[in-house]
Symmetry: C2
Subunit: 272 residues, 2 copies
């Protein structure tokens, strides 16, 4: 508990609940971000951490979704793909990504899910004055985070997208899904090569643990290239350190998280 935090919502019997679901859960920052915003918006609502164990994910989620005063859930690692099967409707981004990171109860009681990770990154970038439109992007990692970034970048007008994953089938599947929805973005599966790209994105967890190096042998970086890592901790991953040494502009995972706040507030209809 941090006493220096902004005022927190006072919880009474009529308080509406939102939760963030993950395993582990101790590290999540969303309650600290959202609760002072609820308070500031005059909303009687609170976001609480919900530690859900993998072996009981589905029944526990169904129990939570049955609560009459729970209006929505943020879904974090490792449940973004599993959560998709629990909602009644998956919005387009979530459908293409194949995973969701937020779900809400509609007025008729049905649940809707969507994925905001990628859109969060695009918004985070735009806050730093960076546009993805017309850029050629090298994406490393076609898992949940990678898929979310790919969809959001294609949606934001990226000119080309090269996708690499050590699991080639995963990269192929993502490229196929993207190609159907975003034909204007030249999407292909390719080797992890910085050369020929304006933006290089790491969407793998490589670089999170101590002693890990680059996520892939991407060759030499050039100072004009933008290098992004979706990893939020450490703030400077081996990839970002290498990029900085080469004079590249870098953006870390915090931008993705920060960028999502406004999007999630809209999705959860907060402040309205």
């Amino acid at each position: 508990m941090n006493d220096a935090l902004p005022p927190q919502p006072a919880i009474d019997g009529a308080t509406r609940l939102l939760g963030i679901v993950g395993d582990p859960i101790e590290q999540v920052k969303s309650p600290l971000v959202f609760n002072p915003r609820f308070k500031a918006a005059g909303k009687n609502a609170v976001l609480v951490p919900l530690h859900v164990r993998t072996e009981v994910f589905e029944p526990t989620l169904r129990g939570l979704m049955a609560l009459g005063n729970l209006d929505g859930l943020i879904v974090t690692v490792p449940y973004k793909a599993r959560a998709l099967a629990l909602v009644d409707e998956v919005l387009p981004t979530g459908r293409i990504v194949g995973a969701i990171n937020a779900m809400r109860r509609e007025k008729d009681g049905r649940w809707t899910g969507d994925m905001f990770d990628g859109r969060g990154l695009v918004l985070g970038l735009s806050k730093e004055g960076i546009s993805i439109a017309a850029r050629r992007v090298m994406l490393i990692g076609a898992g949940g985070a990678g898929s979310a970034v790919a969809v959001a970048f294609a949606d934001a007008g990226a000119a080309a997208l090269t996708i690499h994953d050590i699991d080639a089938a995963k990269a192929e599947s993502l490229a196929t899904r993207l190609g159907e929805t975003y034909p204007a973005c030249a999407t292909r599966v390719g080797a992890p090569q910085a050369a020929g790209h304006d933006v290089i994105v790491n969407a793998t967890p490589i670089g999170m643990a101590k002693g890990e190096g680059l996520p892939a042998p991407i060759g030499p970086l050039e100072a004009a290239q933008l290098v992004i890592d979706v990893i939020a901790k450490p703030e400077v991953t081996p990839l970002l350190a290498e990029a900085r040494a080469r004079g590249c502009r870098t953006v870390g995972g915090k931008a993705m998280l920060d960028g999502q706040v406004a999007e999630l507030e809209k999705f959860f209809r907060i402040g309205g």
Copy 2:
């Protein structure tokens, strides 16, 4: 949301959860009572309202009980009897009452439940300088609240207990359970008569709704008699109004709720 409230706990990813389960839930006061106490005790914990619908009570509760960071639940109307079947162990008071109003997860993962309503009333009375020891009590209502009051009063040394319920079998069952555990308390089923008793307790919901009268035809009250109503709202029920008119000392349902706070804090191991 009430801005004049004491400071509320700041919720982060490591915050432990307690919940209060009921239907409806908007009216519950426990979060307003407990959360400032968590904050004052330096505990990273928060009590939230959980609206559980009757048709999905068991699966929803099992989902909540599976949460890794939920340490306990307060159980309120209409679930005190149903909750008993969900815990691994029912402590003695809960067992005799046949209902629980609090459950907690033990270190080994098992769940323990107990009933604090009656003990709360005894504690609330003692705070007003009233002892139940050696008193002859007329109890109207042998349901959840009545059973809890009966056990707590017998445990507190009541000399005699006359139990009335419009459902005679209910009164008989309670008298039998009490007789086995508290042979020193002269327990019997009888007509709802104030005469011959030192304390008259209403443990039925009659007097809660507008236009309702006395819970039973108890005959004339005498000024020396203590009259208790477990109903918290309205503060002055028809029974209490009648008792005051006769010069009796009266105690309302708020005493029962207030008296439970310390007991529940101990049960949930708060502040320790």
